[in-house]
């Protein structure tokens, strides 16, 4: 199965990048969005909230962000946040 290449960057540092099965959910200004491989290219404005990711290896984790935007194009997901904190439950 295809997978997503996810990259999360904050204003002054790099947060996380890696392969993921899916982006469970992210909160946009309009509501929640989920991204699976093969998603249509999208640019979305994110609101403050949690972002949940299921990586290929390891268990799912959440990232707290306080606004930013999300871009998806050909299975490459870039999340640009003003500030992002990784909640590593694993």
């Amino acid at each position: 199965m295809a997978e997503l290449q996810v990259e999360i960057v904050a204003a002054d540092h790099f947060v996380w990048s890696g392969a993921a099965k899916k982006l469970i959910k992210a909160r946009t200004v309009n509501g929640e969005i989920g991204v699976l491989p093969g998603h249509v290219p999208t640019l979305a404005v994110l609101a403050a909230g949690d972002l949940e990711i299921e990586p290929v290896s390891g268990s799912r984790f959440t990232v707290q962000i306080d606004g930013g935007f999300l871009s998806v194009d050909s299975d490459r997901v870039v999340i640009v946040a003003d500030n992002a904190v990784l909640d590593n439950a694993a």
Partner: protein
């Protein structure tokens, strides 16, 4: 004669303690440059991602945004000058200020009023000393800037940009900062921040790559509304980080030169001191010999 030796000794002592200070400052600056440079590098992914997104929106959605529209008639321009808080960095602040003066003169020749915003105590001191007016000044942390400062700068600048000329608003915004090219070259640079020209800089991806057709959530206008301020943030922050790295590099170089000069001075004074001491000994000897001769006669 003895007095002369004492003067040289004092000079040697004070120069060597100064040399210690210069050396320490050089080492501190050197150790902090690495960190400043890695912060510049750490801010690149964000800048690249934003630039890419802005380019994507601008290329396919034909939206007119107030931030990207050229005003018909520029009557007042804002100039943001980024200098350091502390001195002892050679010509660092001076060359930025010189560049800023140059720009202001140019803008005035074009018949524009100029409103200045300052960053760093050195710029403030320069303007205060000449009793020139400035709209606002930010001081503190010029050698390790915070992202919040960039955002605050952007908020104030955008507010002025949105205001009409009659109410004291500005029609374009320029930024003067020092670009960090390498450890030995830092160049005072002027960029026009607003109205925006989206420039692709320092992107690693090949530019001829086709951008996909994006769907916008909620709408192209709103995405652009959210993106552009962040784009400005990232450009301002990048300018601040580069200025910080340049400041430290300039300081390191200046302190190295000062330390070397102090070493030269110490060498010179040591020679003079030895000379004086030898002269004293010679004189004493000749006095003794002359005295003995006088007794023998």
């Amino acid at each position: 004669m003895g007095a002369q030796i004492r003067v040289y000794r004092q000079k040697i002592a004070s120069t060597s303690s100064m040399r210690k200070i210069f050396k320490a400052m050089e080492l501190i600056a050197a150790s902090r440059i690495g960190k400043a440079r890695s912060r510049v590098a750490a801010s690149l992914p964000y800048a690249n991602a934003i630039t890419r997104a802005v380019t994507a929106v601008a290329s396919q959605a034909d939206v007119d945004h107030p931030l990207t529209t050229e005003p018909d008639n520029v009557r007042r321009a804002a100039v943001l000058v980024m200098t350091s808080d502390r001195g002892l960095a050679g010509s660092y602040s001076a060359s930025v200020l010189k560049q800023a003066e140059h720009l202001v003169e140019l803008l005035r020749e074009e018949g524009k009023e100029v409103k200045t915003y300052l960053v760093g105590r050195k710029a403030q001191a320069y303007f205060d000393f000449r009793s020139r007016e400035y709209a606002r000044v930010w001081t503190g942390n010029t050698d390790s800037p915070h992202f919040e400062t960039a955002r605050e700068l952007r908020e104030i600048l955008l507010e002025d940009f949105a205001t009409d000329y009659e109410q004291g608003g500005v029609d374009e915004i320029h930024v003067v900062y020092t670009q960090f090219k390498s450890m030995v070259t830092q160049e005072p640079t002027v960029i026009r921040l607003l109205p925006l020209e989206v420039v692709e800089e320092e992107t690693e991806t090949p530019t001829d790559e086709l951008l996909p057709l994006y769907e916008f959530e909620p709408s192209p206008e709103e995405v652009l509304d959210a993106l552009l301020p962040r784009y400005i943030d990232s450009r301002l922050f990048n300018a601040q980080l580069q200025a910080a790295a340049s400041e430290l590099a300039a300081r390191q170089r200046a302190m190295k030169a000062a330390g070397d000069n102090a070493g030269e001075l110490i060498k010179k004074y040591t020679r003079l001191r030895n000379n004086a001491r030898q002269a004293e000994i010679t004189q004493e000897l000749s006095e003794i010999v002359a005295g003995a001769d006088a007794l023998n006669d």
